[in-house]
C-alpha cells in the first residue's frame, strides 16, 4: 500500500456527495482496497459531510468544506475543515442502541457509525473553523479479526 494524498474541495450542498463518492473510487484504484473498506470509507465521508451540511450553517450562504484524504503507513486519515458552527463530534454521546426506536431516531446515528469504523478522532476549533481529523487503520488484519462485540452477536 503506497502513500496517497487526495484533496477535495466541496460546497455545502448534498449534491456534492457524488464528488465524495468519486474520491473513494479514485482512492480504491490508487491503493488496494476491498469493497467493504470502500463502503466504510464512503460511509465516514457521507455521515460527516451531511452532518456539516445539514447542521453546520445558520445562513443560506455558500460555504466551502475542505477534505483531505491521505494514506500513509497503512493508516487512512481524513481531515475535514469547515467554517460552520462549532461542532465537536468527540463530545457526542453514544446512542443507546438498546433503547426504544423513537429515541434512536433523534440523532447521533451517523456519528455512531463513524465511530465504529474509525480508530481515532480529534477535533479542534481554530480561527473560526472546525478541524476534524479521523484515522482508520487499513491493515487487512483489522478486517478479518472479529471484535468481541460482533463475536457475541453472531453467536
Amino acid at each position: 500500500m503506497g502513500a496517497f494524498t487526495l484533496p477535495i474541495r466541496v460546497k455545502n450542498s448534498l449534491e456534492e456527495l457524488g464528488t465524495l463518492f468519486g474520491a473513494v473510487d479514485a482512492l480504491g484504484t490508487k491503493i488496494f482496497l476491498s469493497q467493504k473498506k470502500r463502503w466504510e470509507i464512503q460511509l465516514i465521508l457521507e455521515e460527516i459531510f451531511t452532518n456539516i451540511v445539514n447542521h453546520g450553517f445558520n445562513d443560506k450562504e455558500e460555504h466551502e468544506i475542505e477534505i483531505l484524504i491521505t494514506v500513509k503507513n497503512k493508516i487512512l486519515t481524513i481531515r475535514f475543515e469547515d467554517d460552520g458552527k462549532p461542532f465537536d463530534p468527540t463530545g457526542v454521546t453514544f446512542p443507546d442502541t438498546r433503547c426504544a426506536v423513537e429515541q434512536r431516531l433523534v440523532g447521533g446515528l451517523g456519528v455512531h457509525f463513524v465511530r465504529h469504523f474509525i480508530d481515532t478522532c480529534t477535533y479542534r476549533r481554530t480561527g473560526g473553523k472546525n478541524i476534524m481529523i479521523l484515522e482508520k487503520k487499513m491493515t487487512d488484519q483489522a478486517e478479518t479479526e472479529p471484535t468481541p462485540q460482533s463475536n457475541q452477536k453472531r453467536r
Partner: protein, 147 residues
C-alpha cells in the same frame, strides 16, 4: 438506485438496487409512504442488490417500521449483503427488525406469523372472567347473614 415493486400473496415487495444514501433515500421513502397510504400492511424490502446504506437509508426503513406498527402491519427485510447487515447491527436494529436470509422465507414469515396470532387469540377468547366459580368464596358471609 433502482426500485422495483412487486405484489405477491398480498405482500408488497420492494427490490432495491444500488446505493441507499442521503440523495437516493428520499425516493425510497416516497415509494414506501405511498404504499402505506394505499393501506399496505405486509411489506418486504429485498436488499439482495443493495450495495451500500448510510444512516439516511436506515432512517427511511425505521420510519416505515414505525408507520406499520401503528397500522398493525409488519416489515421484513431480506437478503442483506455483509456490509449492509453490519450497518444494521451497529445501529442495534438487527434484533428489532425481522431480517430473513431469503425472499422466500420473508414471504413465508407471514404464514408462521398468522399461525402464532391465531394460537395466541385462543386462550384470550376463552379466558373466563372468574376462573374458579366452584370455589366457595362467600359461604362465610351467608352463614353470618343467617344469624
Amino acid at each position: 438506485m433502482e426500485i422495483i415493486c412487486e405484489r405477491q400473496n398480498n405482500i408488497e415487495i420492494f427490490k432495491v438496487k444500488g446505493q441507499l444514501e442521503s440523495n437516493t433515500s428520499p425516493e425510497l421513502e416516497e415509494q414506501l409512504m405511498m404504499s402505506l397510504e394505499r393501506g399496505t400492511t405486509r411489506m418486504v424490502i429485498d436488499f439482495e442488490n443493495l450495495e451500500y446504506i448510510s444512516s439516511a437509508g436506515i432512517r427511511v426503513i425505521l420510519k416505515a417500521v414505525k408507520k406499520l406498527e401503528q397500522s398493525r402491519g409488519r416489515l421484513v427485510l431480506c437478503c442483506l449483503q455483509d456490509y449492509v447487515q453490519e450497518v444494521f447491527e451497529i445501529a442495534g436494529f438487527d434484533t428489532y427488525l425481522t431480517i430473513e436470509p431469503t425472499l422466500e422465507r420473508a414471504i413465508a414469515s407471514w404464514e408462521e406469523g398468522r399461525e402464532k396470532e391465531e394460537n395466541s387469540d385462543l386462550p384470550k377468547a376463552s379466558n373466563p372472567i372468574s376462573p374458579h366459580s366452584n370455589e366457595p368464596l362467600f359461604t362465610k358471609g351467608t352463614e353470618e347473614k343467617g344469624d
